[in-house]
């Protein structure tokens, strides 16, 4: 997994609540058996005027000029700003894969759905929860300044805005450690093989029917 330490990135605002994972990556693209290549179809139904299908060349498709990510000022954005309950719905990890493949490294929102939040950390993508008032301030600032960037420091758990203001954010210690060091969860868990085996023996004795 790629590490996340510092990021100084352009911010794109997606000003709606309850953005679901069906919107982030529509179902037809879930037929892929690969982990990569979802970026061109991120937000497909909002981003393009025509219908997208897997395997199709997206370069010639007509873009929806009203969709925020299509505006020239947000090209190259690495930070997505969103509202409450971002990533709700389906557990599809294709959603963080698509966001990451498009170029996003962090998402700032009022709240996230649990499964999506979890999936982000497995893919080097940092989801940050800020209070609704702080998110409001950021939406106003992004709208007011073309080329608005934020500097995220995971070690310090801070977001610095261009005028010098600093927002603190929370992140669980274990997730932070894994993200800062780009650690593979499975590798970490397999360091505890003996404990898993010991548990399994005890569990089997207590509920043998689970192992029949």
């Amino acid at each position: 997994m790629q590490k996340f330490t510092l990021l100084n990135g352009l911010v794109a605002p997606l000003d709606r609540a309850n953005v679901d994972t069906d919107a982030i990556i529509p179902k037809q693209f879930l037929k892929s058996i690969k982990r990569s290549g979802f970026g061109p179809n991120l937000f497909d139904e909002w981003r393009y005027l025509d219908h997208g299908e897997p395997g199709r060349d997206n370069s010639g498709r007509s873009l929806n000029p009203d969709f925020v990510l299509n505006q020239p000022r947000y090209q190259g954005a690495q930070i997505l700003l969103a509202r409450e309950n971002f990533g709700c719905g389906s557990s599809r990890e294709h959603a963080p894969w698509a966001l990451e493949d498009y170029g996003f490294r962090a998402i700032i929102a009022t709240s996230f759905a649990d499964i999506f939040f979890n999936n982000c950390f497995k893919n080097g993508l940092l989801p940050i929860r800020l209070a609704a008032e702080q998110v409001d301030e950021l939406f106003k600032a992004v709208a007011a300044h073309v080329g608005y960037k934020l500097a995220i420091d995971l070690a310090q758990q801070t977001i610095s805005v261009p005028d010098g203001k600093v927002y603190k954010f929370e992140v669980e210690a274990f997730r932070k450690h894994c993200l800062l060091n780009g650690l593979d969860d499975i590798g970490l868990t397999l360091q505890h093989v003996d404990e898993i085996k010991t548990y399994e023996v005890k569990h089997r004795a207590a509920q043998p029917w689970l192992f029949a």
Binding site: D15, R16, A17, N18, D20, D22, A23, P26, K27, Q28, L30, K31, S32, I33, K34, R35, E45, P54, G55, R83, E84, N85, C88, G89, S90, S91, R92, E93, P96, S111, F112, A113, D114, I115, N118, N119, K122, N123, E172, A173, F174, R175, D185, I186, L188, T189, L190, H192, E195, I196, Y199, E200, H203, A206, Q207, P208, W209, L210, F211, A212
Partner: protein, 467 residues
């Protein structure tokens, strides 16, 4: 000992070890696998040269991509076919039990798990699918995971996670006529919102929940995720035990008795503390119909489409305006006057035998309205289909103008050929009314099987409490 919630009991019985910040390694008893979220996990295992930790814990089935007609011809879409074939070859290579497309036991993963007794009380159950919460109906700790976690469970039989908060939703009293578990689920989501359960596991309790069949409890727990909760659950009672007895994967003989004795302990203790308790009076719950593009955008069938202008919260108002535009609805329209184009009775929420029976009662001797272009019934598994046919339900549906299909996820998420065309309006027994969920530009209204069947017959929503 301190009084424990059901969730506490399930959690502490599965902790292998714990980090200083509370992150725990949780042991997983049952891993259900389908074709959409597993190929990258198998590939990851292969690339790292890792093995499955406990092959027998896995049960696999293809459900999302499978066609609901013409099974004999196989899958015509080459991309869908490759995904299902990839599951078949991965299962063969790793020795995983799989119900293949033409096996009578094939069906939607959340229907077949309980049907086979592969879901048991006290288990931790995971699947790369958010509706895994369904299995909590059996007092299991069941939740959806992403593909990285699918791979993690395959390789280690464990997951890294933190304990959630506990919410109890108490529904007391008796449900009125024409009111179902689906209506409870939608009413709960309407009240607490789609993020109301975020960070929680929800236990459903109260006399109305105890009165529900296992099918009804599965419908309710299935939609816990639509309230934002990864897990929903119901305590064990005689309904739970009676449902499981004799199922192929359930224990038998002495082992059964031993299991039952343990399962009877799976309830919240008297005086157990919940972080939040939400109460409902069953008698006040009416049949529900969603009007927007989020399951929380829901009203009773005798209500009207809300007017965004009356909403004070700017984010909610904006979302409601956007939803009405997408849904092609005007504020203040009576719900019962909304005319529909298609009907879908199926999905992991409502495709069990009881759902089939409830819809058939409404459809019997009637006919689908002229304005309804397609009304389809998609049983949740081959065994549900067989049982329904034994009871003659297929004949009732076909005589009434419904199509009777092969089992699968079908138009719940439209990964196969079953989908809405742009602008089409559907009465659907599924779980998500998101933009484009049932087909790009499609308009979904979530309802119970009774309401879907009644809407098919009338051509519009109907106050089923009055008929």
């Amino acid at each position: 000992m301190k009084a424990q919630t059901l969730y506490d009991k399930l959690w502490y019985a599965h902790v292998v070890r714990q980090e200083a910040d509370g992150t725990a390694l949780i042991y997983i008893d049952r891993h259900l696998v389908h074709e959409v979220t597993s190929p990258q996990a198998f590939e990851g295992l292969k690339l790292a040269g890792r093995k499955l930790w406990r092959t027998a814990s896995i049960l696999a089935v293809a459900d999302h991509n499978v066609p609901t007609t013409g099974r004999a011809q196989g899958i015509t879409d080459p991309v869908s076919r490759l995904q299902v074939e990839t599951l078949d070859s991965n299962c063969a290579e790793y020795g995983v039990s799989e119900f293949k497309m033409n096996d009578v036991r094939q069906g939607i993963v959340h229907v077949i798990g309980p049907e086979q007794g592969a879901t048991l009380p006290g288990m931790t159950v995971v699947c790369g699918d958010s509706h895994t919460s369904t299995h909590g109906a059996f007092a299991a700790l069941a939740f959806g995971i992403g593909t990285s976690e699918v791979e993690h469970v395959m390789a280690t039989q464990c997951l890294l996670m933190k304990k959630t908060k506990a919410m109890r939703v108490v529904v007391d009293g008796t449900l009125g006529r024409g009111v179902t578990a689906k209506d409870i689920a939608l009413a709960v989501i309407g009240k607490i919102g789609t993020a109301g359960g975020t960070g929680y596991s929800i236990e459903f309790a109260g006399s109305a929940i105890r009165a529900l069949s296992m099918e009804g409890r599965m419908t309710l727990c299935n939609m816990a995720i639509e309230a934002g909760a990864r897990a929903g659950m119901v305590a064990v009672d005689d309904n739970t035990i009676n449902y499981l007895k004799g199922r192929p994967f359930a224990p038998n003989g002495e082992m059964w008795d031993k299991a039952v004795a343990y399962w009877h302990t799976l309830h919240s203790d008297e005086g157990a503390q919940f972080d939040q308790v939400v109460k409902f009076d069953a008698a006040q719950i009416k049949p529900q119909v969603t009007w927007g593009t989020s399951p929380e955008m829901v009203v009773a069938v005798d209500g009207r489409v809300p007017d965004p202008a009356t909403m004070n919260d700017a984010v909610k108002r904006d979302a409601a305006e956007r939803a009405l535009k997408y849904m092609g609805l005007k504020a203040n329209t009576p719900i019962a006057e909304i005319r529909i184009d298609k009907v879908f009775i199926g999905s992991c929420t409502n495709a069990r035998i009881e759902d089939m029976r409830a819809a058939a009662v409404v459809a019997k001797g009637k006919h689908v309205a002229a304005n309804v272009k397609l009304a389809m019934v998609v049983p949740g598994s081959g065994l549900v289909k067989l049982q329904a046919e034994r009871e003659g339900l297929d004949k009732i549906f076909i005589a009434a103008g419904f199509e009777w299909r092969e089992p699968g996820c079908s138009m719940c998420l439209a990964m196969n050929d079953d989908k809405l065309e742009p602008g089409e309006r559907c009465a659907s027994t599924s779980n998500r009314n998101f933009e484009g969920r049932q087909g790009q530009g499609g308009r979904t209204h979530l309802v119970s099987p009774e309401m879907a069947a009644a809407a098919a017959i009338a051509g519009h929503f109907v106050d089923t409490t009055k008929s």
